[in-house]
């Protein structure tokens, strides 16, 4: 089985490919570049905040920096990175040759670069300044050109997300191999069903909000202007109806990745497959009815705040089910503490901290004191950085061999992990205290009593900046010159590992047939694989008494490693 056949020339990744594997990598690389840009902006913000005086940048520039930082991290880093993993993995995991709509898939990706470049180009004209939330009236009176550029950029990026979700949902429901029922598919697929539902139902409402905002901005309407009969809170409702589900859109794919990474490196079946699968759906559904917890201080009536407080607290339950499932998966496992596993475990620890503060801010009496303070900044960075970003890195370390046909360097990976873990906690932990002590967010000038903690946060940021270097060097060097990866370096059981690294263009030489469940590590069915395969090598494959299915060549040879070059024997 040759590894060279799936390899692509570098130029392939710059064109309009309809191959989901190429598109997935395009998403991942593009979004990572935007991560660095958004991170650079955060670096400037944090450098400004190292001293209480606003002495580094102009106030307008400061506002633009945190506005574009937030916008990039959400719409150009985490959301597309999730789409990238989904794109790469889903067809492979379900045994399909590609997505349901490959051309639409390419269109969805190619909306990202123009959306991103448009946003960045705003710095040349006038950058948006009203925060990524862009509330009127501020967004209607400050940086108006930048605001419209921002709106157009988001409309492009949101469309990309929606088109991706159309593909994911139809592919997962309709293109699994016949022997793979819904309860046989990897949990990443369940996660993407849940995420796609949210994308399809909520992103368009953001479009509505921004269309109405554009009319107020450019055409003199008063949808959000009280003096013309409108109401700024209506914008907030429309905005958050998307932006809350957005945070689940940003985390669910990575919940899925973690559920698929932990069993492999713990050599144990996932604990609570159905619980984790259905909890994704529960999070998706509940995620649609919690949005106004972002509006507890907007003059919303008591009954509304009560309702949303309750639904927000309830959403912790399915999330907690997942966390306990993951912990139970790790417990008693024969752990391989490689980079992927370290980031996956780091994900759980850091995300849970963010989840705990999430329950705190779900409570109205608590939130009204910490809203718009650094406590909120701490909360969402723990769930987004500790959650999604750790998840992305776990995913990269785990699937890099599959995607590129090369192994990453483990030592650099551990350095990356340690620096990231320390950097993230140093940056975001003090922000809880700052928020409780009353430091507001989105301002460059603060009371001098907050200085020491701010300096700690800034140092943490610089550590995070440094942490990107071992990763980038590792990724680039490994892709070019790393040791060649076999089809199944982690000895995993899901279908993407049953083909070469990288996979051939059509993913599988023969339609795969399920031999095991996706997480049957250490189960009786797989214990005597070698014995069974030897048996099969000597005659026609015997029927497996339990499942009645036969092993395909792809699975058998990758489970045993490349024991022989069987390709030339079997192809006409």
């Amino acid at each position: 089985m040759s590894n060279q056949e799936g390899e692509r020339r570098p130029l392939d990744f710059f064109g309009f490919s309809t191959d989901h594997k190429v598109i997935g990598i395009q998403y991942l690389v593009t979004s990572f570049i935007f991560y660095l840009i958004g991170g650079f902006m955060a670096g400037i913000v944090r450098t400004e905040l190292a001293t209480p005086d606003p002495d580094l940048v102009d106030p307008e520039m400061y506002n633009s920096l945190f506005t574009v930082h937030g916008t990039i991290m959400i719409f150009l880093w985490i959301v597309p990175a999730g789409a990238g993993f989904a794109n790469y993995l889903i067809p492979l995991m379900i045994g399909a040759r590609d997505m349901a709509f490959p051309k639409l898939n390419a269109v969805a990706f190619w909306l990202i670069p123009p959306g991103g470049l448009l946003l960045l180009a705003s710095f040349l004209i006038e950058a948006p300044q009203a925060g990524w939330t862009s509330y009127p009236p501020l967004s209607l009176v400050t940086g108006k050109v930048g605001e419209e550029i921002w709106i157009l950029s988001i409309l492009l990026l949101g469309t990309s997300s929606i088109l991706g979700a159309v593909n994911f949902s139809v592919t997962i429901f309709k293109m699994r191999i016949p022997t793979m029922g819904l309860n046989d598919m990897p949990l990443m697929c369940w996660a993407m069903i849940a995420a796609s539902a949210l994308i399809l139902l909520s992103t368009p409402v953001l479009a509505a909000a921004l269309i109405l905002l554009s009319f107020d901005l450019l055409a003199g309407t008063n949808f959000f202007n009280p003096s013309g009969g409108g109401d700024p809170v209506v914008y907030q409702h429309l905005f958050w109806f998307y932006s809350h589900p957005a945070v689940y859109i940003m985390i669910l794919p990575f919940f899925g990745l973690i559920s698929d990474i932990l069993p492999v490196h713990a050599r144990k079946p996932i604990f609570g497959y159905q619980a984790i699968a259905y909890s994704s759906l529960a999070i998706s559904f509940l995620g649609l009815i919690v949005w106004a917890h972002h509006m507890f201080t907007s003059g919303t009536p008591g009954w509304l705040r009560m309702f949303f407080m309750i639904t927000t607290m309830i959403i912790a339950v399915p999330t907690g089910i997942k966390v306990f499932g993951w912990l139970a998966t790790i417990w008693g496992g024969k752990l391989r503490l490689n980079s992927a596993m370290l980031f996956a475990m780091g994900f759980i620890a850091t995300f849970v901290i963010g989840g705990v503060t999430g329950i705190m801010v779900a409570s109205v009496p608590f939130d009204i004191h910490v809203h718009d303070t650094y406590f909120i900044v701490a909360h969402f960075h723990y769930v987004l950085f500790g959650g999604a970003v750790f998840g992305i890195f776990a995913g990269i370390y785990h699937w890099f061999p599959k995607m590129t046909g090369r192994m990453m360097n483990e030592n650099w990976g551990i350095v990356h992990f340690v620096l990231t873990l320390i950097g993230a906690n140093m940056t975001f932990m003090p922000m809880h205290i700052l928020g409780l002590q009353g430091m507001p967010r989105r301002v460059a000038m603060y009371d001098p009593r907050f200085t020491e903690l701010n300096v700690v946060c800034t140092i943490g940021t610089y550590i995070l900046a440094v942490s990107t270097f071992p990763f980038i060097i590792n990724a680039v060097w490994s892709w070019l010159k790393g040791p060649k990866a076999p089809g199944n370096p982690w000895e995993a059981l899901t279908l993407e590992w049953m083909t070469s690294s990288p996979p051939p263009i059509e993913n599988f030489h023969t339609t795969p047939v399920l031999r095991t469940g996706p997480y049957d590590y250490g189960m009786k069915k797989t214990l005597s694989i070698r014995a069974r395969l030897k048996e099969m090598a000597s005659s026609v494959p015997p029927r497996n008494k339990e499942t009645g299915i036969r092993v395909s060549e792809a699975q058998s040879s990758s489970l045993l490693g490349d024991i022989q070059d069987s390709d030339s024997d079997n192809h006409p």
Binding site: E5, S17, T18, D19, A96, R97, D98, A100, F101, L104, I162, A165, V166, N167, S169, V170, F173, K174, M175, L200, L201, T203, P204, V205, A207, A208, I211, L212, F215, A219, G220, T221, N222, F223, G228, G229, G230, D231, V234, H237, L238, F241, P504, I505, E506, H509, T510, T511, M536, A537, V540, P541, S552, E553, Q564, S566, D569, N570, H571, P572
Partner: protein
């Protein structure tokens, strides 16, 4: 050594080009495009739902709705509504025709639908020109114009889709009893546009 138990004739050889791979890909699985269109239309409906919600909130928080000075006329929009709803039935006849292999029927009924759509749009434009309120007159007016114009944009796109189908149907045998995704997708889209209009009409003109 023979491991595989899959029919050898199904095995792909080293496919050198992506084009071959992707076209074979499509030969090998059923056509999911209609489902894709349906999923997309669900998403598209949500934009309108967002705007409808805003409209309903504005209505609920106003003492008088429509505000002072707005007179709602029902005759012209009512006629337009009947035209649009009827056009859905007309279009459906076109699809029934092609499902029986009747290309001429497809062309005739779809052309009729396009004309009815165009009449609807013309009616809208005429209505705009005869109204006494403008985009910024008051909140109702703004909602009215933005909602109907956004819908009108969708009708326009629908008419373009129908024209696209008509153009393709000019080639004999392009649409057949078995293969008629274009007309079917266009019909789904048109029904969507119709249902949105019904809701819009009730909200803007009747409630």
């Amino acid at each position: 050594m023979q491991f595989t138990s899959v029919d050898q004739s199904q095995t792909t050889t080293n496919l050198a080009t992506e084009a071959i791979a992707s076209s074979r890909h499509h030969e090998e699985h059923p056509d999911h495009r209609i489902l894709g269109v349906v999923v997309f239309l669900v998403a598209e409906s949500m934009i309108f739902l967002g705007m409808f919600s805003a409209y309903l909130i504005y209505r609920a928080m106003s003492e008088q709705w429509p505000p002072e000075g707005i007179e709602r006329e029902l005759l012209l929009p009512g006629i337009n509504t009947i035209i649009l709803i009827s056009s859905s039935f007309v279009m459906n006849r076109g699809n029934k025709a092609i499902k029986n292999g009747d290309q001429a029927g497809l062309r005739v009924w779809f052309a009729a639908t396009a004309i009815m759509g165009a009449i609807f749009l013309a009616g809208q434009v005429y209505e705009y020109s005869s109204l006494e309120f403008g985009l910024t007159t008051n909140l109702y007016a703004s909602c009215f114009y933005v909602l109907t114009a956004f819908h009108g944009l969708h009708v326009t796109f629908g008419v373009i889709l129908i024209c696209g189908v008509l153009l393709r149907s000019a080639k004999d045998g392009h649409y057949t009893k078995e293969s008629h995704f274009g007309p079917e997708a266009a019909e789904l889209y048109w029904h969507f546009v119709d249902v949105i209009w019904i809701i819009l009409f009730i909200l803007l003109y009747l409630l």
